[in-house]
Point group: C2
Chain length 389, copies 2
Amino acid sequence: MPTIQYAGRPGVLDLSWGHPHPDALPVGDWAAATGAALREFGWQALAYGHEAGPAELAAWLCERLTVTDARAPVPAEVFVTAGASHALELLSTQLVEPGDVVLVDAPTYHLALRVLADRGAELVEVPPDPGALEEVVTRLRRAGRTVGLYYLVPTFTNPTGVSLPDPARRSLPVTADRLGLTVVEDDTYRELAYDGPAPPSLWALGDGAPVVRIGSFAKSVAPGLRLGWLTGPPGLVAALVRRGYVDSGGGVNHTVALTMAAFGRSGGFDRHVASVVRRYRGHRDALVAALHAEGVACPVPAGGWFAWLPGAPALPAAEAAGVSFLPGRVFFASGGPDDHVRLSFSMLGPADLAEAARRLAPLLRAAGPALRRPSPGGPTATRRRPSPG
Amino acid sequence: MPTIQYAGRPGVLDLSWGHPHPDALPVGDWAAATGAALREFGWQALAYGHEAGPAELAAWLCERLTVTDARAPVPAEVFVTAGASHALELLSTQLVEPGDVVLVDAPTYHLALRVLADRGAELVEVPPDPGALEEVVTRLRRAGRTVGLYYLVPTFTNPTGVSLPDPARRSLPVTADRLGLTVVEDDTYRELAYDGPAPPSLWALGDGAPVVRIGSFAKSVAPGLRLGWLTGPPGLVAALVRRGYVDSGGGVNHTVALTMAAFGRSGGFDRHVASVVRRYRGHRDALVAALHAEGVACPVPAGGWFAWLPGAPALPAAEAAGVSFLPGRVFFASGGPDDHVRLSFSMLGPADLAEAARRLAPLLRAAGPALRRPSPGGPTATRRRPSPG
C-alpha cells in the first residue's frame, strides 16, 4: 500500500499522468495557510462545516471568478465539493438515474466516463454542435430514452488541450436550454491559461441556462487537498445540501475549504497560480519546441496540462524506448478511434519533456505522413473535432 | 451562507446537536500536525493520494485498532474515507441498488436512514436478533425482494448511548453470514469509551463474516476534517478503489489523511483522545447527575455522545422553556414511536447541561409515571430495544 497514486517506472519518462510537478505543490505555503486558518477561525475550522461550504470560501471564490470568468456567481449558486471528481460523482448521483443516457463529448476526460458509467448511465458521444445534439437527443427520446445531461470539458480540454471556439461556445447553453439538457461543464483547467485569459465559461455565457460548472483546486493548488466546487442553479445547490450524506457530515471538506479561503484572502492563491502558470507554460513550450525540432507537428495548447497529437505508436514499443503516454482511444466512450496520443506535460520538467519528445518522435514519424500535417493552430488553436461516434 | 453547520438559538440550551464541544477541538495541535506532515511527506502530502488511503495512515490505524478493538485489520482491509457519512454513501452506492430493501436497526442514527433512502432503498426495521432477522429476510425474499444489507450502530449507539450486549453481539455476524446479509457496522463512537474499553466490534468478532465496519475521526479528533475509514473484505476495498470517482481523484482526503498519520504517530492522537474521553465523561456525569437530582431516571451511557430517555415532552414547550432535544420518532425508519428523547451531551459543557436538565425535568415529569421507572442499568447498561416496527 503506497502513499500516493503515482507509481514511477524506472527508465520510462511517463507522459500519461495528469499529475502536478512536485515542485509546483505549495508545501510551505499550505502549512502557513493552515496555521493562519486555524488562528483566524479557531474551533470553527474543525467543527462540522456549513453544508454548501463555508461562507468565506464562497465569497472569495465569487471574487476570484470576477477575474477569471465573464460572470461571477453569487454564494447561493456555489457548492463546495471534495474535488472535481467528487463533484461529478455527486452530480451524477443527483441528476442521473441508472439507465439514463448521458451525452458526452468525444474525445473527453476518460475517467469522467468511468464516473458516469458507474452510475449506470449509457454514454453516447456527440460533439458540442447544435445540429448534432438536436439529432441525437431527438432520436434517443423517440426511442423512449431519458436524456438529461451533456458532459464536456470546453476549456483547455482534457485530452486535446484546446478550447471550444465561438460560436459553438456561445450557442451551446442556448441549445441545451432548448433541448431540455443540463450541461455539465468540467472547468478544471481555467486557472492554467498560458496565452491570455481563458474563454468565458459556458456557465457564465449561459446566464440562466441549465449549466452546472465544475471547478477545482487540484490543478491550481494541489490535488491531495481534494477541494473543488461547482456553480449552478440555487435549486441544485439546495438539493445537494439536502442530501442525507451532506446533512450528516456537513460541508464535505470543511477544514481544507476554510484553509483555502485563508490562502485566497492572503493573496497566496494569486501568487501561487501565477507561479504555476509560468511553470507549466515553460513545460508546454519545452515539449512543443522539442517535438517541432524533431519534425513532429504539435498543436500548441493555450492552457491546461495536455497536448493531443495525431499518431498511434504502439505503447509497448514506446515504453521499450523509455517514454509513455495515453493512447487516444481511452478518451472515447465508444473506445476509439485510436489515431491520437495524449501527452501530459505537467508532471515532468522541461528537460525530461524534451528528452521524452526525442524518444517519442521516431515512433510518431514511423506512423506515417499524417503526422506531418501542419499544426491546426498556434496559441489560439481551436478545437479539432472527430465525427460524432 | 454561514461558516459552520451549527446554528445557535439565543436562550435555548440545545441538546439536539451531535456536535463536539468547541474546546474539544485540537486547534493548535492540528496546525502543528499539518506542519509536521508537510515537513515529513513534502510534496507527496499534496499530490494525488493512493486510492485506498495512504499507507502511513492505514498502518497507524491497524496499530490503533490493536488497542481499541479485539482484532486489527491488515492494510488490504482498510479504505480511508472522507468521514463516516461519506463511507455510508459510498457503501450504499457500491452495495445497494435502487429498490433493494436495506434492513436497519430501530432506533438508529436518523441521518444514516436518509443516506440509505437517498440511494432509493426501502428501509425495513428489524432488531439485531437472529430470529427476527431470519423471519424478516425470509418474508421479504419470498416476496421477491432483494435484501443485502443490515445497518446498525452496535457500540455506544446513536441515539440510545448503549451497546448491543452479548450474546446478540457475537451471534449477529454468524446470523448475517448464514442469511447472506452484509452487516454495515457504524462504529463511530468506539474511541469515546468512558467506563472501560468498548466492546469488540462486530467486524472483529465476525472474523471472515460479511461485516463492513465504518470508523471516523469526527468524534475523536474533529468533524470538519471529514476523515473516516472502513474495514471490510479486501475484495470490497479493491472494488471501491476501482470506482471511477476514486481512480480519478485518488485518495478521497489525502492531505488530511497523511496529517492524521503524523498526528497518530507523534502520540498526539492518543493524548487528544484521552483528553476528550475525560471531557465527555464529565459531560455525561453532569447531565445524568442533574437529571437524577430532578428525579428523572436516566440510563447511563458507557460511551458516545447521547442519552436516551423515556418521555415525549412537546418540543415547542421545551424550547419555550429554553431547552431542546431530538424527539425519538426521528430515529425510526417508520417514523415512530415517539416515546423517547435523545439528549446530546457533547456540545454543551457541564454547567449548561445541568441547567438544561433543570429546564427539561419538569416537562419530562409532566409526561407521567413511565418516566420514573428505574434506570435499566448503570455504566454497563445493555441495550433497551423496542419491538421491531
